[in-house]
């Protein structure tokens, strides 16, 4: 896609399909969490619902943006006008900025839950610094994945400690899922097509485990 996506050509569309499945998994978790929130009005489940809604929309936006740009690209002849290129890059950048902001917002909410942050000023400083890092950084793409990896690492440590304490299959599944999500972000830092495919596969495996988890708990 004119080089602004790290995805290799043969992988176009496959990553979007992964992201659509991921959106469905995240929406299922958000709905389950909302169901609990309706009964309890507990803050944790409200935040969890918002977190997974933000993450699901982020993936949906990313998938739609990539598919749109991909569809427009394959219709083009070999000669590309500046106008077309500018239009495609605008669509890509707008979609990906929305994706990055929503994804980071979702992770911040999960981090608030994992670290039990109750101070609003702490929450706001995390949000502001993350937004600055991923929007205004000269090299925003690796920066976004570095920030995501850091957040996912701390979220993973919470789930790992919980799995050690509870020793249940579901708590272990959720810890493994977040470990894979963390590893996938490390892969994405390197703007290389093979690392991108590897990262996407690891990330998708993480969400498949998460979908198995939600099936187990809702049975």
């Amino acid at each position: 896609m004119f080089g602004f996506s790290p995805s290799p050509q043969w992988f176009y569309g496959v990553d979007s399909a992964f992201e659509i499945v991921t959106t469905i998994v995240c929406i299922s978790i958000a709905l389950f969490s909302y169901k609990i929130y309706r009964f309890t009005e507990a803050r944790n489940y409200k935040l969890l619902t918002y977190a997974f809604i933000a993450i699901s929309f982020s993936y949906l936006i990313k998938a739609v943006t990539n598919l749109k740009v991909f569809a427009e690209t394959i219709q083009l002849d070999n000669i590309v006008t500046v106008e077309t290129y500018t239009k495609l890059i605008s669509i890509y950048q707008l979609g990906h900025i929305s994706y990055r902001l929503l994804y980071i917002m979702g992770l911040i909410l999960l981090l608030i839950l994992a670290l039990n942050i109750t101070c609003k000023r702490t929450m706001s400083i995390i949000a502001i610094l993350s937004a600055i890092a991923i929007i205004f950084s000269y090299n925003y793409q690796p920066m976004f994945h570095i920030v995501s990896a850091i957040f996912l690492f701390y979220i993973f440590t919470h789930f790992h400690q919980n799995a050690k304490k509870k020793k249940t299959r579901t708590s272990k599944l959720i810890a493994i899922s977040f470990l894979l999500q963390f590893i996938s972000q490390i892969f994405f830092i390197f703007k290389d097509p093979l690392y991108y495919v590897g990262g996407e596969l690891i990330l998708f495996t993480g969400y498949i485990i998460l979908s198995y988890y939600i099936i187990l708990v809702s049975k």
Binding site: F32, S33, K35, I36, R38, F39, T40, E41, A42, N44, L48, L113, A114, H158, F159, Q161, N162, K165, K166, T168, T170, S171, L173, I174, Y213, L216, V217, S218, K219
Partner: protein, 90 residues
């Protein structure tokens, strides 16, 4: 040492206490069955009433707290809910 009950466990205890008494209980009985202070029980019953999990009824000048269909649904779903919350550890 017994750990402090979570909000969701307190809700389960309140609804179970009502359900065991054929779905209807006097507020004073609920007070000791749920093992809560008067103020805490008032706070919880208000929330549960607003969420349609319980309702207040009057009979022969006596007030009763009744579990609703939604409240029974919560008890049926409780195992799943606890499974979910336990695995997350929040």
């Amino acid at each position: 040492m017994k750990t402090k009950r979570t909000k969701i466990e307190i809700i389960r205890d309140i609804l179970s206490a009502i359900n065991i008494q054929n779905g209807r209980i006097k507020p004073t009985h609920l007070l000791y069955k749920a093992n809560l202070s008067h103020n805490k029980l008032k706070e919880y019953t208000e929330t549960l009433k607003n969420k349609d999990l319980i309702k207040y009824t009057k009979e022969k000048n006596r007030t009763y707290i009744e579990i609703t269909r939604k409240g029974r649904e919560f008890l049926a779903e409780y195992r799943k809910i606890m499974h979910f919350t336990d695995s997350l550890g929040f």
